[in-house]
């Protein structure tokens, strides 16, 4: 049983995570370009923040500062700045939760990278006791314990706040509680596993066995449980609202910061010409059923009166 | 929509008491609306405002700007409020049988 959950199940979970992520990102990026809906100032426009403060804004070239934009993104990703600025009472818990995730994922990434390099013959096996392997081992342990502890504390704090603050409680649907509870259990299992005896060797061995396609049995029950829960979480993640980490890119780059002007002969113009050919099926009396958008718009004289 | 009884005739008005069909307007209706608006006696000054509004509405299909109403009738805004306690739009226009001024006005 344990073999199944730390073996085939983890493959399936990884596959679901990758497929789900790809599916979500592709379906979001395939949505039609919408009408403009920015929120100012736009970081990419530097100190001015908007082109509309100039006369003849369309004639001057759009100077775009990717660096300023990346700066704002980094503050958000690394520090959760908006939450800090606007909802400080939740920031600390949320920050710990996110740091916990970052650390845990970093630890996992390091072990995975190491296993890939070893199997490709590019690095010495951990058992060799090389300096690199020892340092990496220490880092992974720190990331694992630190990440799980931070995540556990953060998630538990947020769950407690949500249960006790009437405003938060009223606005939460059952899924909100489920997600936080899931995170609490996940980090708790991680902390248990990392503080048990010799998790690092077991993780390394198991990772190598998974990569070889012949998963072994994880001796530690707590580690097996943590791995199973991590697999479950990974498989659930792309289909949950916690996927906001990826959606956020679209929120900002495709909506709130998107001031891309229309230019003749470009893809954007072709796209919109296409949308205007869609038939519309809204039933409002001021609309003409099933006629294309372009026909609706050129029908001023038929506008429903009253 | 609701109705106001004017000498036995039912006149349709909107929720704010403005006439729905300005073509039905007549002096009977003015007298009736005046009572509802707290105008006890219709003086020549009232009629001057009402006739100006009515004429402008017939020509242009909307109410005139208030400043123009003042200038053309020779009454300042304060006087208009004395004549029509609900003011030029909600009072005078209603009595003159104009539809309620709407839009960003």
């Amino acid at each position: 049983m344990s073999w199944f959950f730390t073996g085939p199940f983890l493959y399936a979970a990884a596959l679901l995570f990758l497929a789900g992520t790809a599916y979500k990102i592709i379906s979001i990026s395939r949505m039609p370009r919408h009408l403009r809906w920015e929120l100012y100032p736009l970081p990419r426009l530097g100190a001015a923040g908007s082109r509309y403060q100039q006369v003849d804004h369309g004639r001057s070239p759009r100077e775009i500062s990717r660096l300023a934009e990346i700066g704002v993104m980094a503050e958000e990703i690394l520090l959760l700045k908006k939450l800090f600025a606007n909802r400080r009472d939740l920031w600390f818990g949320s920050y710990l939760l996110h740091v916990g995730l970052y650390f845990s994922i970093a630890g996992f990434g390091l072990v995975l990278t190491e296993a890939v390099l070893v199997s490709a013959g590019l690095a010495a096996a951990p058992a060799s006791g090389s300096l690199a392997a020892r340092v990496l081992g220490e880092v992974v342990i720190v990331a694992g314990i630190g990440g799980s502890a931070a995540g556990l504390f953060g998630a538990a704090f947020l769950l407690a706040r949500r249960l006790t603050d009437p405003g938060l409680r009223d606005m939460s649907d059952p899924v909100t509680f489920f997600n936080l509870a899931f995170l609490v259990v996940l980090f708790a299992s991680g902390l248990l596993a990392w503080t048990a005896d010799g998790p690092l060797e077991q993780v390394r061995t198991h990772m190598a066995s998974l990569l070889r396609g012949r998963p072994g049995v994880v001796p530690s029950t707590s580690l097996a449980l943590a791995m199973t829960l991590s697999g479950l979480f990974a498989a659930y993640l792309p289909f949950s609202r916690m996927f906001h980490f990826a959606a956020k890119y679209f929120f900002y780059h495709r909506i709130l910061w998107d001031d891309e002007p229309m230019h003749g002969g470009t893809a954007i113009q072709r796209d919109f010409a296409g949308y205007l050919r869609y038939p519309l099926t809204w039933s409002g009396e001021h609309l003409q059923p099933r006629k294309a958008w372009s026909e609706q718009l050129s029908s001023r004289d038929d506008a429903h009166q009253g | 929509m609701s109705y106001v009884d004017v000498n036995g005739k039912q006149i349709e008005v909107d929720e704010d008491g403005f006439i729905c069909d300005p073509d039905l307007w007549n002096e009977e209706i003015v007298r009736c609306f005046a009572r509802l608006e707290g105008v006890d006696e219709l003086t020549d000054d009232h009629w001057k405002v009402i006739h100006y509004l009515r004429g402008y509405y017939r020509q242009f299909g909307i109410a005139p700007m208030i400043r123009k109403l003042c200038k053309e009738t020779g009454f300042n805004l304060q006087r208009i409020y004395e004549l029509f306690p609900s003011g030029p739009a909600k009072g005078a226009c209603k009595l003159a049988g104009l539809p309620k001024p709407t839009g960003c006005v």
Partner: protein, 533 residues
């Protein structure tokens, strides 16, 4: 205080969340208006007031079970269409993302002027209506939702849920202040607009002021006020007389000048209610030697586009017809006067709808006015504006277009030093005047009572704070709002309801009037501090 959980939104209490006037945030005692009027009995018999005791829409109470059923099925039909490409390509991505990725952290709550001013009454949370939309969509349209049923947290759909949600879509001014603070980027303002759209485009539910006597009349007569070209020209003539009275100089306001550099388009309400605003534009442009014109063609002299607030088709019909009027005139660019929503509607939101010969440059008047003032194109004497002035930032031009500095650069040049004072939250962090998203012109039933006391309350507080050191009526003060709708809200709420003019001697008006008032070549002041007319 009574709590209103989202799942109980359809409960059969007569009024789900009655506005509690005693909970509204405090104003100085002498500025507090009387309590809001309850709905008339005649209204209560006919219309739905069951959200908070107010009605913006006048929704007729259903009389039969079939009618109730039609309300629910219409809503569900519309909700499905909101998430389809064909019907909602214009806002599908923002709608889908804001529906799926809210983390329910309530960060948006404290940013909302309405929720805060209400004393934090649950139903006015900016995410409350979004949460209803999300849960209902999930419960009725997703496979998990069908499995989870009430465990989605969605109320069981009934006509009350639908009607209350329709009313609730008109308790938000679409200022999008909440979107600016959301750590994820979720936009409750957008979702509120999408709800309005669903109600209008599928169920024909919209405030009469916006639809029937708004966009429908706009498309039929050429202007949202119903002002036809003949009336427009008559008003212009009168405005020329006003200018002559004020300046001693007769100016010919250019109309229908083919190929002019600039087509200036005002909110047509300016001509009727604030004629000194178009007059001041004419004076300033004339003195600066601008090559400009107005249009007397239907759609060409009206900048408003109420469709922006509730209906994509009405919006696009108006935007395209407006640009078409400019194209026929052969002007080089369109400049929108002091009207926030109109500026955003035509400059940014319409951008991707306009192709071919409709790609005429479009911009706000504020940078042009800044260029005139800063470039020394008119001679200015700031001491003519020797009184305290505070500036209101219209959401549509400021947070939603980023126009922040031109109006400030103008004010510092046309006022003596020290006379300009900012409000507590300004620039892109401003608060709505309370008139946004159509509220300024929605005056049916007892809705204005709610708007003035709740939606405009934050602005009232800000203005009092900005003028805190000089509230004494012996000091005349100017509340500068470069936007027709914001001026409408100032008139209805700040002046009529809170009585700022009588109590504190605060005058309200636009920006260009202040520029004209500072013009050294005018024989006397342009602004009149006495009661007008």
């Amino acid at each position: 205080m009574p709590r209103v959980p989202v799942k109980d939104f359809g409960s059969d209490t007569p009024v789900l969340s009655p506005l509690e006037p005693e909970r509204l945030t405090q104003l100085p005692a002498d500025a507090e208006p009387r309590a809001p009027m309850p709905p008339r009995d005649a209204w209560l018999e006919k219309y739905d007031f069951s959200l908070d005791g107010f009605s913006a829409l006048g929704l007729p109470l259903p009389k039969t079970a079939e009618e109730e059923e039609r309300i629910v099925s219409g809503f569900l039909r519309g909700l499905a269409k909101l998430f389809t490409r064909e019907n909602n390509w214009a806002f599908l991505l923002p709608t889908a993302l804001s529906t799926d990725y809210c983390m329910r952290c309530n960060t948006c709550n404290a940013a909302c002027g309405v929720y805060e001013a209400s004393g934090r009454q649950d139903v006015y949370r900016p995410n409350f209506r979004s949460e209803l939309l999300r849960r209902i969509y999930r419960r009725y349209f997703s496979p998990q939702g069908k499995l989870l049923g009430k465990w989605t947290g969605a109320p069981e759909l009934n006509w009350r849920v639908v009607y209350r949600l329709a009313e609730l879509a008109y308790r938000c001014t679409l200022c999008r202040r909440c979107a600016g603070v959301c750590p994820v980027g979720v936009d409750n303002g957008l979702l509120c607009r999408e709800l309005r759209k669903l109600f209008s485009m599928e169920m024909g539910i919209a405030p009469a002021a916006l639809h029937k006597s708004g966009t429908v009349r706009h498309l039929a007569t050429g202007a949202g006020t119903g002002m036809k070209p003949a009336a427009f020209l008559d008003n212009l003539e009168f405005i020329e007389e006003i200018i002559e009275e004020k300046t001693g100089k007769r100016i010919r306001i250019p109309v229908d000048k083919k190929g002019a550099e600039i087509l200036l388009v005002h909110n047509s309400g300016e001509y009727l209610s604030w004629p000194e605003n178009p007059a001041a534009f004419a004076i300033v442009f004339d003195a600066a030697g601008i090559d400009w014109t107005l249009s007397s063609a239907s759609m060409g002299y009206e900048a408003v586009n109420y469709g922006l607030w509730y209906d994509d088709v009405q919006y696009a019909r108006i935007a395209m017809a407006q640009v078409e009027a400019a194209r026929r005139l052969g002007v080089k660019k369109i400049v929108v006067g002091e009207c926030g929503h109109a500026t955003k509607a035509i400059v940014t939101i319409a951008d991707r709808l306009l192709s071919g010969d409709l790609r005429i440059p479009r911009e706000s008047c504020l940078p042009l006015l800044e260029e005139i003032v800063a470039g020394g194109r008119v001679r200015l004497d700031p001491w003519r504006n020797d009184f305290p002035v505070t500036l209101h930032d219209p959401c549509n031009m400021v947070r939603l277009m980023g126009i922040v500095s031109p109006q400030r650069n103008i004010l510092t040049r046309i006022l003596p030093p020290g006379r300009f004072r900012e409000m507590p939250s300004n620039g892109t962090e401003n608060y709505c005047c309370g008139g946004g998203s159509g509220f300024a012109i929605m005056d049916a039933y007892n809705f204005p009572e709610w708007r003035n006391r709740v939606a405009s309350r934050k602005k009232a507080q800000q203005v009092l704070t900005a003028f805190g050191d000089c509230l004494d009526p012996s000091v005349p003060k100017y509340y500068c709002a470069p936007c027709s709708n914001c001026k409408g809200a100032a008139r209805e709420a700040l002046m009529d309801c809170y009585r700022f003019r009588e109590r504190y001697n605060i005058l309200y008006g636009g920006l260009v009037e202040l520029i004209a008032n500072a013009m050294a070549e005018l024989p006397g002041p342009f602004l009149s501090w006495e009661t007008e007319f």
